[in-house]
């Protein structure tokens, strides 16, 4: 009986291996990894975005005549599982490149994997500066504006505020820590009179909002920097509204203008926060109109920022593949460096120096309209204007 056990086990191990597919000559495969089960609020619109892109690309004749196929895997929010998925996509599915990821640590894990296995990786969402700078490598590119870029955009507006006493509230993990650090550094460079009077570090996803709000209020800051998002943001805003924390205080907040995080707040949306985000309802450019129309026609739903990220990730990947005319990673890198392409938010370029795209973000103020949160006075900030000088970037990034 025990014997049979072992055989069952061995059979399972083999089964898990699956069958190695040989890539058909008429297809180009892209391997896509994201935290679908952990972060559905972001990744569902994201998935819709890239599916739309795939449809459009194939309707227009594919990539140099070859059909584009995206194989998508869930990483469950764990770096180790993301690497298993990356390995399956590369070794077993034979994908030409990897794309995706949301959490910074997963982005870094896949980027390290790509560097080790010499695979092209286009990081979609992870915001940490390390992806393109301190832990950057030649195989990794990134689409979204980094922590540094978003901080720089917000600092531009924040430094004009009269407030001198600042407090910070940020989730206690790398994203929150580095967002606060960069914001503080850039603010202090612009303004020597700023005092940092309090900082709160609730655990990500587990904020005990009442005491946090009370503690910040006790420090009596004139302005507050918020980095929390998702469910934590909801709790913080609700407690803050009830306890009057935001009354008479300026608030600067990362990501809060993104529909993913702004829409759930509904009538509780605090007014006048300076935020980065994506006001899809007020963008009036031909590129965005085309995207919006196609998206709404296909899904009968409005796009979130995730939709833009997913859409543009696959569009960028396709542009890189088309220009390279090959799936050889070295040729893909050569093609991607300095490549410019249109996007729903305007033209973007993948910089040669650090592989960061110049995709920007909208900065505006929150407002309440018909019981819903919206962004007003939004201005698109080009990513290229908010990056440090080339000399500084050279110093930040290890030599390949």
């Amino acid at each position: 009986m025990r014997t049979r056990n072992y055989f069952v086990g061995a059979a399972f191990a083999l089964l898990a291996g699956g069958i190695t597919h040989s890539a058909l000559a008429q297809e180009i495969k892209i391997g896509e990894i994201n935290s679908y089960s952990l972060l559905p609020a972001f990744t569902e619109p994201y998935r819709k975005g890239w599916q739309l892109a795939v449809e459009e690309i194939n309707a227009a004749g594919g990539i140099n005549g070859k059909k584009l196929v995206v194989i998508s895997k869930d990483d469950g929010g764990k770096p180790a599982d993301a690497q298993t998925a990356a390995n399956e996509l590369v070794s077993s599915e034979g994908v030409a490149m990897l794309t995706g990821t949301f959490l910074s640590n997963i982005g870094l894990a896949v980027s390290d994997f790509a560097n080790q296995k010499k695979v092209f990786f286009l990081a979609a969402e992870p915001l940490t500066d390390a992806v393109t700078w301190s832990k950057g490598n030649k195989y990794t590119f990134r689409l979204r504006p980094s922590n540094y870029m978003q901080a720089a955009m917000l600092v531009e507006a924040a430094s004009k505020l009269p407030a001198k006493r600042w407090a910070t509230i940020a989730p206690n993990y790398e994203y929150g820590q580095s967002a606060v650090a960069v914001f503080k550094k850039l603010m202090s460079e612009k303004r020597s009179d700023i005092q940092w009077v309090d900082e709160q570090w609730p655990p990500q996803g587990k904020i005990d909002a009442g005491p946090v709000v009370q503690a910040v209020a006790a420090a009596n800051p004139e302005a507050i920097l918020n980095v929390t998002f998702g469910a934590d943001l909801v709790k913080l805003v609700r407690e803050g509204n009830t306890r009057g924390l935001f009354k008479g205080r300026e608030v600067v907040s990362f990501l809060t203008g993104e529909p993913e995080y702004l829409d759930p707040l509904k009538e509780e949306t605090p007014e006048g926060w300076i935020v980065t985000g994506y006001p899809w309802y007020s963008i009036k450019t031909p590129e965005h109109d085309a995207f919006l129309k196609a998206y709404q026609a296909k899904y009968n739903d409005y796009p979130r920022l995730g939709s833009i990220v997913g859409y543009q990730t696959i569009k960028s990947a396709a542009a890189i593949l088309a220009k390279a005319g090959s799936t050889d990673p070295e040729k893909l890198i050569a093609a991607a460096e300095g490549l410019s392409m249109p996007s729903p938010l305007g033209e973007i370029t993948f910089r040669k120096i650090d592989h960061q795209s110049t995709l920007g973000a909208y900065v505006g103020k929150t407002a309440l309209k018909d019981g819903k949160g919206v962004m007003v006075d939004s201005v698109y900030k080009k990513g290229s204007d908010y990056l440090p000088s080339d000399a500084e970037v050279e110093k930040l990034r290890p030599k390949d």
Binding site: A80, N87, V212
Partner: protein, 629 residues
């Protein structure tokens, strides 16, 4: 001064929601001994249903009716779960019910997204409690005051229920000695069902009452479940008053702690629990557990070493596994390596749990320490791979030596929770000490040397180590040390009476298990090329528990089979379906119902039955083998 009063009240309000959920868990555990991992899931469903109802029913009456209706609805779901699922497995080995409730939790997390969609939902504010009350210039939300009043009221009602009703007397009696209650002719089935319903009702009520202050989303359950367990253990299992005091203690320490150390929330509850358990091993208001009345050597099949045929078969299986690189691709080999590593991890926990009777809820700590040990040696000292692999697990060994010393002073669930606390402390150090560990961005670039870099070589390495570790631990099971360890498991008193230093034996076992887990972690670091705090996290500890339980606690080879089945299935499902949690959870629940002794346990039982049934002529021959031990 007004500020400190308000902060104190805010802490009390936080304590209220914690208490409601914790009291339910405490009652359920006290009576049924079920470690109800699904308690957080019931809390979450409560919030979701309350959200739907509060959106439908208008007005103040509608809101409060919706909250109560949601709690009753979820209690009904709880009753169904208890009657259909849990009733079947009360007689399964201890902690096996954990597996069932874990499976349910997985399913619920996918189901709520399917039903309610992926977006965070924000419900109405409570009618009549929308604003805040001014207290010397500080604002106190009136809803907080409502919660502050509510929780002592609930405590009072529960107290009356337990002290003044016949049902309450029975519940208290069952908490103290459920075998005696059964012997006195009380219908345990309905007692358990009703207790489970009350516990689930409280959890769902706690969830529903979060509507006015929280967002409803699919990860609510995990956010609360661990903390609630901690509160229950600090208070003392089965003690409602204890849960109340612990909830207040934890919440107030957090409310004031963040004024001095803003980063303390992440670890506070675990620090408190570790401190309380070391000083008071049964929690603040708990009582020492009555000595177990189970017969020594409860295992149905006495353990025996493999017969020569079985050894041969195991060897053949190993040889077949070793030929995998001849026909499988790189991906299959990497998955094979991962499974082999998890076999190491699972057998190490299995050794502690099955042989030593010590169920650790924080075994990932030693796995992760092994991985970090390797990462430090490779990245900072730049040592070659072979040296790192040999020395890295020592970090796991040291961790196990220190924490194990304290942990083995306790037993049962308290032991489990103390190991959890230690694991969380180690995790938070890895998470917070950014300059050394890289924080949650981890340590990257820990790739194997060229001799082991190819997937086939690494697979052989992992397989070889896994085989060696399994053989070594098996040999230990049947060594004098193994017998002594099993003696401590079966009867601590008798063990000490015959002159065995039980604590030292258990401590040694803990260190052996921790070091072995560290070996697995060391290989894992090289397999993945990186180390993250995840490698020490709760979910990995739970994975290990699930593997052992799935294989079968009361068997010798359960860890091996459990690890292979669970890991292979997990990887395969995640790759094949978007609803991997739903399918995996369903599979686990099914296994629990069909194989209440775990996979290996069930197969052994079938084999034994066949042996008994088939050769009618040789019962005498069969017997000596069975009773060889």
């Amino acid at each position: 001064m007004a500020f400190y009063v308000v902060q104190f009240l805010t802490g009390l309000a936080s304590a209220a929601s914690l208490f409601l959920v914790a009291s339910g868990l405490s009652i359920i555990f006290g009576v049924t001994r079920i470690v109800n991992f699904a308690h957080g899931a019931f809390y979450m469903i409560g919030a979701y249903i309350a959200f739907t109802l509060t959106e439908r029913l208008s007005g103040a009456f509608g809101f409060w009716a919706a909250i109560v209706m949601a709690a009753f609805a979820v209690a009904l779901i709880g009753v169904i779960v208890e009657m259909v699922l849990l009733r079947r497995i009360y007689h399964a080995p201890e902690l096996f019910q954990l597996l069932a409730t874990f499976g349910l939790t997985l399913m619920v997390e996918d189901l709520v997204v399917l039903i309610w969609g992926p977006d965070d939902l924000v419900g109405r504010r409570a009618p009549g409690f929308k604003g805040a009350i001014d207290f010397f210039g500080q604002n106190i939300p009136s809803y907080d005051l409502f919660l502050i009043v509510l929780s002592p009221v609930v405590l009072g009602i529960l107290w009356l229920l337990f002290q003044r009703t016949r049902w309450g007397v029975l519940v208290r009696a069952a908490t103290q000695d459920r075998d005696m209650v059964a012997a006195l002719g009380v219908n345990q089935k309905w007692l358990f069902t009703s207790v489970f319903a009350v516990g689930v009702f409280l959890a769902a009520l706690g969830g529903a009452l979060q509507i006015p202050r929280d967002a409803v989303h699919h990860a609510m359950d995990l956010r609360i479940i661990v903390e609630v367990f901690v509160v229950v253990v600090i208070g003392g299992l089965g003690s409602i008053v204890g849960a109340f005091v612990a909830a207040v203690l934890v919440s107030e320490l957090n409310a004031f702690g963040i004024l001095i150390f803003p980063k303390i929330s992440i670890i506070l509850v675990f620090l408190v629990m570790a401190a309380v358990l070391i000083v008071r091993p049964w929690g603040l208001f708990g009582r020492p557990e009555a000595p177990a009345r189970k017969t020594p050597g409860l295992t149905v099949n006495p353990w025996r070493p493999l017969t020569s045929n079985e050894r041969l078969a195991a060897l053949v299986a190993l040889v077949i596994a070793a030929t995998l690189p001849l026909f499988a691709g790189n991906y299959a080999l990497t998955v094979g390596s991962e499974i082999a590593i998890f076999v190491i991890f699972a057998v190490s926990l299995h050794f502690l749990m099955s042989v030593g009777g010590l169920a650790s809820f924080g075994h990932a700590a030693y796995f992760g320490l092994g991985a970090y040990g390797v990462a430090f040696l490779a990245k900072m000292a730049g040592l070659p791979m072979i040296v790192c692999l040999l020395l890295g697990p020592l970090l796991g060994c040291m961790g196990a030596a220190v924490f194990g010393f304290f942990a083995v002073q306790l037993s049962g669930v308290y032991f489990a929770m103390l190991t959890l606390a230690f694991a969380q402390i180690v995790w938070s150090i890895a998470f917070q000490w950014v300059s050394v560990t890289g924080g949650d961005n981890g340590i990257l670039g820990v790739w194997p040397s060229s001799w082991a870099a190819s997937p086939s070589h690494f697979y052989w390495l992992a397989l070889g180590v896994a085989a060696l570790v399994t053989i070594a631990l098996r040999a230990m099971v049947f060594s004098p040390f193994g017998y002594a360890l099993r003696a401590t498991r079966d009867s601590l008193l008798r063990t000490e009476a015959v002159g065995i230093n039980a604590k030292r034996i258990q401590w040694t076992a803990f260190v052996i298990a921790g070091t072995t887990a560290g070996i697995g972690g060391a290989l894992f670091a090289y397999l993945k090329g990186s180390v993250f705090p995840d490698n020490l996290g709760i979910s990995l500890s739970v994975d290990a528990l699930v593997m052992v339980l799935l294989g079968g606690v009361e068997t010798v080879s359960g860890g091996v089979i459990g690890a292979i089945v669970y890991k292979a299935l997990n990887i395969w499902l995640v790759s094949q379906t978007d609803l991997s949690k739903l399918v995996l959870g369903g599979f686990i629940v099914l296994i629990v119902v069909v194989f209440p002794k775990g996979i290996v346990g069930m197969l052994e039982m079938l084999a034994q039955r066949r042996r008994k049934a088939s050769p009618p002529g040789s019962p005498l021959l069969a017997k000596p083998i069975e009773s060889a031990e």
